[in-house]
């Protein structure tokens, strides 16, 4: 047993020390594997960042009420009477003054200009009541102040302000021949709300001719379980044709389509590229075996086993692939991690998000790299182990 281990160590050392002789071919394999891992991780970190931004925005103890079948806020219409019925519904938390903790909200989209491309993009403009900001986690004004009720004032999410032009503090923007002043910038714990513009609900209702109706109602629940009570209440009242769901469930559903799509694009592409680089790895390792034919035969002639030749070749291949994987992961981390992008969310409006590379994703990337190394080394290693001694010595 000990001798086998010693043999393996010796052969592996010889393999690795002879790498510089096959520098270019080995380097090609390393870089090929690195590129495969970079492509995979870029897609995965994009999908992950998008999903986290949206899915983390939702709380379990906040209910979102939409018109049934509306799917997203932009489609929904909730009428004045329905809002009242919901406010009186069971399971809704009440403030110290006895008022229900709810916020009827309008969700409109307005045009903005994306800084990076200079093209028009749809941005969400949310009209909310005085309780609205309090129903969201970590909302703080980072510059300026809150809008005053009844005025044409808006506050702008931090992420939106960075990505789109014209929403700096103190600026005036025009929607529909009415002028609005940006009086504050707000943060919301990195959630999707940072990609929104907020204004006073009644002002938006009158300027956009939506008097009386809202699009969604948000409500704080007495407990996450109270969602069932509220849903049952809504389902049993024929006047309420509404979908009641937790904010967490709402956002999870909003995020899933886009992030699934990104992942569905990323994996097949990376696997296809991995197959391409597998061909390269096989080539490299076969050449490595061919180049060392005499050496392997000599070792066999002096008593080394075929198994050590097998392991030596396999380890060489795995190490090349692992180096490629690490380079790919490092490149993705340096280039893409934290990279800010924006795309169209489910409500036809922009969501600003950052690419997020996590250890788990890096693990997946390295696993793919090692798979290339394993398969790329396996057959050449078998050839090395089975090589007839005589042929090797005369080769």
């Amino acid at each position: 047993m000990r001798s086998i281990i010693l043999q393996i160590l010796a052969v592996t050392a010889i393999n690795l020390k002879s790498l510089p002789q096959r520098l270019w071919l080995s380097l090609a394999t390393v870089i090929a594997v690195g590129l495969v891992v970079t492509v995979l991780l870029a897609f995965l970190s994009m999908a992950n960042g998008f999903r986290r931004t949206i899915a983390d925005s939702g709380a379990e103890d906040i209910a979102v009420v939409l018109r049934s079948g509306a799917v997203s806020e932009i489609n929904s219409v909730v009428l004045r009477d329905q809002v009242r019925l919901i406010e009186d519904g069971p399971g809704i938390a009440r403030g110290p003054d006895g008022k229900p903790q709810t916020s009827g909200e309008l969700y409109l989209t307005v045009n903005g200009i994306k800084r990076s491309t200079g093209t028009k993009a749809s941005l969400p403009l949310r009209g909310l009541g005085p309780l609205g900001p309090g129903l969201r986690r970590g909302v703080v004004i980072t510059a300026g102040r809150m809008f005053n009720p009844g005025t044409n004032e808006i506050i702008v999410g931090r992420a939106l302000g960075k990505e789109f032009e014209g929403f700096e503090l103190g600026q005036t923007v025009t929607f529909n021949s009415t002028r609005w002043s940006v009086v504050g910038i707000f943060a919301a714990d990195g959630s999707v709300f940072e990609s929104e513009i907020w204004a006073d609900l009644p002002v938006l209702q009158s300027l956009f001719k939506r008097a009386g109706s809202v699009q969604t109602v948000r409500a704080r629940l007495t407990s996450p379980a109270a969602i069932e009570t509220l849903r049952a209440y809504s389902d049993n009242d024929p006047r309420l044709k509404l979908d009641v769901m937790s904010e967490a469930a709402y956002f999870a559903q909003q995020a899933s389509n886009t992030s699934d799509l990104i992942q569905k694009l990323g994996w097949p592409l990376a696997i296809a590229m991995a197959l391409g680089s597998l061909a390269g790895a096989l080539n490299t390792m076969y050449s490595s075996v061919a180049a060392r034919a005499t050496e392997i035969a000599t070792l066999r002639a002096i008593g080394f086993g075929g198994f050590s030749a097998f392991v030596g070749t396999l380890v060489e291949s795995l190490i090349l692939a692992a180096i490629g994987g690490v380079i790919g992961a490092a490149a993705t981390y340096l280039v893409f991690d934290g990279f800010t992008a924006s795309t169209m969310g489910a409500s036809f409006s922009q969501v600003v998000f950052n690419f997020q590379l996590t250890p788990r994703l890096i693990g997946q990337g390295l696993l793919l790299a090692l798979a290339v190394g394993l398969f790329g080394g396996l057959f050449p290693a078998l050839r090395a182990a089975r090589m007839p001694i005589v042929a090797g010595l005369y080769g």
Binding site: A42, A70, L108, T119, S122, L261, T343, M344
Partner: protein
């Protein structure tokens, strides 16, 4: 034995190696063809739009409505040849996830305007104008849901509701239409605006946007100014744009698809270029002695150069052409599941042609260094090298 035979024999001398390289080239070109077609289909809206087509949208955002009265006012503007209005229905069939692209339009004028994209039978044309509750359904949508002309179908709206409170409308399919040009998407449903407007419970007399054709491209500028000027400072200001520019801006909202495609295709090509290029250098080096013999026999340097280049180009074509086949297969397979997202997905002939061109370029690049080395090889060194 002519040179071609020699090239072929050389290439397949090590069968496994040749096949491996072909596989990696195949994958790179399959990726190229699929992604390039994907990007093209994604931007098909821009390709379809002829320059004389304009859209009139609410200035705030395209999701904001316009009053129906704008229809006649814009139609009266000098330079407007044809015009129709659209209202977004937000349709779904049975379940909200079964999205149906449905619009309420002015039937007669919509068909006139889209005559360049779609083929309407005289019966369908007449029935769509005549039947108030009739809908016209594109061929691909009919196929997708297994509908036929005469079917009664309930279509729900995720936005609108009927005065009765119901979210669903019962329509009769009165006709279908097919695409006249490949980029035109027939996964779409059209309904008469009058019936829709009378039955919905809110938003009465509002539309989503206007689409029009000008008398000539030269009139565009003037028409745009006339329309936007007419509604300036009104409660519904407009922004008029070419359909092409609008489609482009809309597609750009999803992100820079072109850049992503370029990066991935670039990464795939760099990978293969390195692998194949290095292998070609190695292959030719192994043959040094033989090349020396060929030169001794009187093969000129130029002929040797051509032979090595021929080999690398042949390799690229043998790998790349099946790659195009694989791409075609893949595209046909995923076409239906991606119908909502990229309607006109197909392997475009010019992309295939570009791929073949790239194969030749790729062959030349990977073969150039070894070919030059072989050409310059000195007989004495060649035969002396072991």
């Amino acid at each position: 034995m002519n040179d071609l035979v020699l090239i072929r024999k050389n290439l397949f001398r090590r069968k496994l190696r040749a096949i491996l390289m072909m596989v990696s080239i195949l994958i790179a070109f399959a990726i190229f063809a699929v992604l390039a077609s994907f990007e093209r289909a994604f931007n098909a809206g821009q390709d379809r739009a002829t320059p004389d087509r304009l859209v009139v949208l609410n200035k705030i955002n395209f999701t904001q409505p316009l009053p129906i009265s704008y229809y006649n006012r814009v139609a009266a503007i000098d330079g407007v040849a044809q015009i129709t209005h659209f209202s977004w229905f937000g349709g779904y069939y049975q379940e909200p996830r079964n999205f149906i692209a449905a619009f309420a339009v002015d039937p007669e004028n919509w068909m006139k305007l889209r005559d360049t994209d779609f083929v309407f039978s005289p019966e369908a044309r007449a029935a769509f104008i005549r039947e108030r509750t009739g809908v016209l359904v594109g061929a691909r949508m009919m196929e997708k849901w297994g509908w036929k002309v005469g079917d009664h179908i309930p279509i729900s709206s995720s936005i609108w509701s009927q005065k009765s409170g119901s979210h669903a409308w019962d329509f009769i399919i009165v006709g279908s239409f097919t695409a006249r040009i490949p980029q035109a998407d027939t996964n779409v449903m059209l309904m008469g605006y009058d019936y829709f407007n009378e039955t919905r419970s809110f938003g009465k007399d509002l539309i989503s946007w206007l689409a029009l054709r000008t008398t000539s491209v030269a009139a565009n500028e003037r028409v745009i100014e006339a329309i936007d000027g007419m509604f300036a400072n009104s409660p519904y200001e407009t922004t008029t744009d070419s359909e092409k520019a609008f489609s482009k801006a809309f597609a750009a909202q999803l992100g820079n698809i072109a850049l992503i495609v370029e990066l991935v295709v670039g990464a795939a090509f760099v990978t293969i270029l390195m692998i194949v290029g290095n292998t070609m250098v190695m292959t030719v080096r192994e043959r040094t002695r033989e090349i020396g013999v060929l030169k001794t026999l009187g093969f000129s340097g130029g002929r040797i150069l051509r032979m090595v280049l021929g080999e690398s180009i042949l390799l690229a074509l043998l790998g790349g052409l099946p790659g195009l086949g694989v791409a075609l297969l893949l595209i046909t397979k995923v076409r239906d599941s991606l119908m909502n997202f990229v309607p006109a997905l197909s392997l475009y002939p010019d992309i295939a042609a570009a791929a073949v061109g790239l194969m030749v370029v790729f062959g030349i690049i990977t073969g150039l260094v070894p070919a030059l080395n072989a050409m310059r090889l000195n007989i004495v060194t060649a035969l002396g090298r072991s």
